[in-house]
Subunit: 413 residues, 2 copies
């Protein structure tokens, strides 16, 4: 089945907003077996919207539209949809009730713009939106399906997960496509590809391998295509087993597992607790770990010791160490980890000290230098890493290095 | 002048790659005064590429194409461009030399695929690429310009900056378009639009207003269009002044300033220091603040007190308060902020305690409940907020609420 994605909004065309919605929708639809063969962004203009709707209806079975549904006057999508589908706006009392109760919970009065969000084209099926005020809309015309949703990612995802994906899966029985992701960390893509040359050459014809790198994490995606799910599952399972045999030291998880999820899973399994002591990562390790639901079961807390004062006064790092070796050093990383573990009474502590940049680097300790330490009952280990990217990327890379060292130490504990 | 962007590659359609190239190109072209009126992604397929090229030539003056120029066999863009422009591939010795010297520098032997990269369509003007092996290509057909570049962002940007943008700027003296962003926080889009009804109605014809909301931050974008930059600048300045007069309480900055940048700017201007005490935000406030270069000038550190033990042992919160009012309460938020300020000896401290979800909510304190407190020399203020989104979005919303309360307190300090 052919699908296409239309995103509406000047902010996408002039590059103020990066279109992450299309990527997410593309992933979801392709895992349902749709061929997403086109993606288009157009202005918030009647003629542009009418033009692309009519083009898309001639080439696609399913058309997903996002954007242009806000309450403000620059949003003309809803009016234009009425024109294209030859219908009119009517007040939907159920949606009105939802908008009213959301505004009440947030403590804001209802106004005319909020009321207008409850007006929907008469001929569409309304897709309720518990994440925001603009509902989604499901239209059908000449056997083709058109779905319009707000452009706010959390609202679009809510409507897709709750309404659109289940309905599309039910309605279209297409070729079976199964994706299986194996998550790796710790080796660059080119090196990984070299190690996996033999594995790749031995893959059966129905399976393709893709490398999806992001900030040092490389997702290996196996895609199996065929007519029956129950035939494909064992074939893909054999290849997953081979991967585990070939690169056991780099695989940290499967599917969409993140490093912080893997760390949490291991801590929970072993009934262990964790804290962090962060300088250059500025709280990002703690932020990642606490983004995982249920992390309060194993995570106690963190001290972000951005200034040296806090390293000594809160974490108990000996000021002579900082004076002798500098704040970015093995001894200080080790002392931070040990101090945090003592202060917060946990089984594990991870500590970082480094130079994220853009300034603060020296010849001996350039921007991108990181010392990371992991402390637990049996001792403390420290590693030095050097990256060469910008501040924000360095912080991300530092965080991943720390999470991975922590993960390996928990496994061997 | 009308421009459009075509990106070629299955990875964009199935969402493996987020299309950041289009956003970057959109920004660059619109600052040159081009109207980017469409952006399309298509498969690596001959018919798809021919189809979109011929559609685009009927509606745009300049067509920017990226992707499909890699050395691997699934890249058929170059062959298809030859077909569309009715020309043939020839070996370009200058490009061959560049590829050879690049491979040598990287320590790789030349192979057949590398040689093929030096083959270019005979009728195009070659745009050399010092950042990679595939050159860019400039075609002209019926007065329209088509530029094809590799999809690797660093290579595309090199070719754009070095060749394409200077040439386009020279060739097209087009309409001037100026964007000015005013960043707001603290009121929903619909309410803001209501307040700004009069402002919007009074805008001169050459200026348009757009609302770009994201997690509670609403960017107000004023777009001025005309023939002369020096005429538009004062006109837009008048409207910016009017906005400041109409909604002073909601504007926190301009252009691409974030709340954490605004907080940093205010602290630096007033020579004040900050720390955070975070429960439900898990270190995200600290992470945001330290993402800003130079934040070590005003940010001392943070205690992420995820467990109640840490709230009492490190921040000095009276355990009787937690017992009496619960960890998510005004009294605990206040005690956390005051404890952190004392511990880390700063002028300001911001503290959060709340329920990010998905579990942990009660009837009285549902998921999404936040208490935030800001403490400084003159006292401590606390606010309660309630959100209704998922865990990750709640954490973002909590963070913004905290940063904004902090911002307002710094201003009035």
């Amino acid at each position: 089945m052919k699908a296409e994605i239309i995103t509406i909004g000047d902010e996408l065309l002039i590059g103020q907003t990066v279109d992450t919605n299309s990527a997410w929708i593309g992933q979801e639809l392709s895992s349902l077996g749709f061929d997403i063969h086109r993606r288009t962004s157009v202005h918030d203009k009647r003629e542009e919207i009418i033009g692309i709707l009519s083009d898309s209806s001639s080439r696609s079975d399913v058309v997903i539209i996002t954007g242009g549904l806000g309450p403000t006057s620059d949003d003309i999508t809803k009016k234009t949809l009425c024109e294209f589908f030859n219908t009119r706006l009517v007040m939907n009392l159920h949606v009105l009730e939802m908008v009213e109760s959301m505004m009440q919970r947030r403590g804001f009065p209802m106004n005319e713009n909020n009321r207008k969000q409850a007006e929907v084209p008469e001929s569409c099926k309304v897709l309720t939106n518990a994440a925001g005020t603009a509902p989604g809309m499901w239209f059908e015309k000449n056997g083709k399906v058109f779905i319009s949703m707000p452009g706010v990612p959390s609202e679009m995802k809510y409507i897709m997960r709750e309404h659109v994906l289940p309905e599309l899966a039910k309605r279209y029985t297409s070729q079976v496509i199964i994706h299986k992701n194996i998550m790796t960390y710790g080796t660059p893509e080119a090196r990984l590809a070299e190690i996996l040359t033999g594995f790749e050459a031995g893959l059966p014809g129905c399976i393709k391998l893709a490398y999806l790198p992001s900030s040092g994490i490389i997702k290996l995606r196996l895609t199996a295509t065929g007519s029956r799910r129950d035939e494909l599952l064992p074939i893909i399972a054999v290849q997953v087993r081979k991967l585990y045999e070939t690169i056991p030291e780099y695989i940290y998880g499967e599917d969409e597992e993140t490093l912080e999820m893997a760390v949490g899973r291991l801590l929970r399994d072993k009934n262990l607790t964790l804290c962090t002591a962060e300088s250059c990562t500025g709280g990002n390790i703690s932020h990642k770990i606490t983004s995982v639901p249920g992390s309060s079961d194993y995570f106690r807390g963190s001290v972000v010791a951005y200034s040296n004062d806090i390293k000594t006064s809160v974490l108990g790092v000996d000021p002579l160490l900082i004076q002798r070796d500098g704040a970015v050093s093995e001894s200080v990383a080790v002392a931070m980890a040990e101090g945090a573990r003592k202060l917060m009474k946990t089984d594990f502590a991870v500590a970082t000290t480094g130079i994220a940049g853009p300034s603060g680097g020296t010849d001996l300790k350039p921007v991108g230098t990181l010392w990371v330490a992991v402390s637990h009952g049996l001792g403390t280990i420290a590693e030095k890493h050097t990256f060469t990217t910008d501040r924000v990327t360095n912080i991300t890379r530092f965080t991943f290095v720390a999470l991975n060292l922590l993960r390996k130490q928990i496994i061997s504990a």
